[in-house]
Amino acid sequence: MPLPEYIKKDYKRTRTMKGSWYLTSYKYKFNLSRIKEYLKGLKNGILLGLKCRSCNTVSFPPRLICGRCLVKPDQWVRLPETASIATGSANYDEEDKKREHPFPVIAVRQDGADTALIHNISDDVDFNSIYIGMPLKVVWAKERNGLYLDIDHYEPIEDPAIELNKKEGSVD
């Protein structure tokens, strides 16, 4: 039997009782001095990963702690500007007005690093064209300030594997 309408209303009222929780007032502490080298590198257009001397894992962006060994990695290693897609998806969130939808969302693994990060890819890349292993290159921000977003986004570069296939294909 359907419940009388007034009951529904009563429940709605209790549900919408006033009260707010200002989530934006939260602050998150992060010890920038521990990644000073990395940030200085970014400012100068140099990519630095952090290597754990115990397990040789290279993290990029640097992880302050190696969970495997429970130590603070302290060996900076220079990484090339090239990278590849570790996995990817697409963003369909219409409320996100930054770009036309859908657009690709990618996890990027910098060459020489063992970890990946979620980052942006060039606006003109179709979400259907991305694939795991797709080679990319860093595109720097117009002005570098020694901040994480000094890497503005990644852009695709020629994939030697695909070029090879094309050449082989043209033989027949």
Binding site: G67, S89, Y92, T115
Partner: protein, 376 residues
């Protein structure tokens, strides 16, 4: 491990927007579990809840649940992960010898809070939030792409799992009506709205209000309370690294380790042949396969074969209704029903050894697995 049994349980029928406050939902579940076991509230010695301050919009959210949770003047505590983790807490209290009967519940009402937005608060404020692209949908999409790519599978394969889940849900009286789809087809799943390529809407569960409760008892009490005790014969719990970029998303290491440990405690050498039912908490149809493979029920990349056996998520799994904080508990209760032969329309005949799992974190960062058995 000393024997501890599940002796009573109750799942409130979930709904997109239940005509009950969470307080009343919880009462229905705890009262229901006590009545099911034929126990009085006074018989309980400890109460462990699972809920989340962000979901509730109240800090120390368990303090509002004392009365309805059955915890008035009891030893009471809370887990803020999944209901399956609360079972571990209850189990440990009983195994310590200090407690007899433990009430365990998990509850949330997503009709009252923006679940997917709350999940954004799970992301790393330093590295993920400035990019603002990681959320429940994109994590599921990236995981699915990694899985398909690693094993040369297609979107159609995952659509088959979704069809299987939704048809199973149609046989489950406690599934939400919106998930009960007897005539769903693979094409319908493939043509449903895109959430985050290649993840489609019908491969993703529907959020709903829900609460599940169960009662744990040590061996001596369990035998007095019920002639159908279901024993927890093994448990394993592991946590993987937080960052998605540090993990291979095509498999699930924490699930592998958790299942391995649970099997070892339970003395299970060949899960493929010994386990007849698996109720696993996967966050997407794709993750159901990844977890089932990690639990050793099928070879890697071959999880799809499980839908022919019918032993994976006969209830429809979370696709039958996704109730944050109660999901893992519901999986356990479903496995218990199977072993007791009380699963009504979705009963697997002869089920006597089951696994059930719970999880938290993007792409199942943390997994907990139980081996459940009937008989003596």
């Amino acid at each position: 491990m000393d024997k501890v049994a599940i002796v009573g349980f109750y799942q409130v029928k979930p709904g997109l927007d239940l005509m009950m406050s969470p307080y009343e939902m919880l009462f229905e579940a705890t009262r229901g579990a006590l009545d099911h076991a034929g126990l009085k509230r006074d018989d309980l010695s400890t109460v462990i809840g699972c809920n989340n301050d962000y979901y509730d919009g109240k800090t120390i959210s368990n303090c509002f649940k004392v009365e309805a949770g059955g915890a008035y003047m009891k030893d009471e505590s809370k887990v803020e992960m999944d209901g399956a983790h609360a079972v571990m807490y209850g189990l440990m209290r009983i195994l310590s010898g200090n407690h007899k009967l433990a009430m365990v519940y998990g509850i949330s009402a997503p009709s009252c809070f923006p679940y997917e937005s709350v999940r954004i608060l799970e992301t790393d404020p330093t590295f993920d939030r400035p990019i603002n692209l990681l959320n429940g949908y994109t994590a599921g999409g990236m995981q699915m792409r990694a899985y398909l790519n690693a094993f040369g599978l297609s979107e159609e394969d995952i659509a088959k799992v979704a069809v299987y889940n939704l048809k199973n849900a149609a046989k489950n009286p406690l599934a939400i009506p919106e998930a009960q789809k007897t005539n769903i087809t693979v094409d319908e799943v493939l043509n449903s709205e895109m959430l985050s390529a290649p993840l489609k809407k019908l491969m993703y569960p529907i959020l709903c209000d829900g609460v599940t409760a169960l009662i744990l008892a040590p061996e001596r009490q369990a035998r007095k309370i019920t002639d159908k005790p279901v024993w927890i014969t093994g448990v394993g719990h592991f946590n993987d690294t937080y960052y998605l970029g540090d993990r291979d998303l095509s498999s699930c290491s924490s699930m592998e380790k958790a299942a391995e440990k649970a099997y070892k405690i339970a003395g299970i050498n060949n899960p493929k042949s010994e386990i007849n039912v698996a109720e696993l908490f996967g966050h997407t149809a794709c993750e159901d396969l990844i977890l089932a493979e990690a639990a050793g029920l099928a070879d890697k990349g071959k999880g799809l074969s499980l839908i022919d056996t019918g032993k994976l998520n006969p209830s429809g799994g979370t696709m039958a209704g996704y109730t944050p904080a109660a999901n893992g508990l519901t999986r356990i209760v479903e496995a218990v029903k199977q072993i007791r032969g009380e699963a009504e329309g979705h009963q697997i005949s002869g089920a006597n050894k089951a696994i059930a799992s719970g999880q938290v974190g993007f792409c199942a960062q943390n997994n907990i697995v139980y081996v459940l058995e009937g008989g003596e």
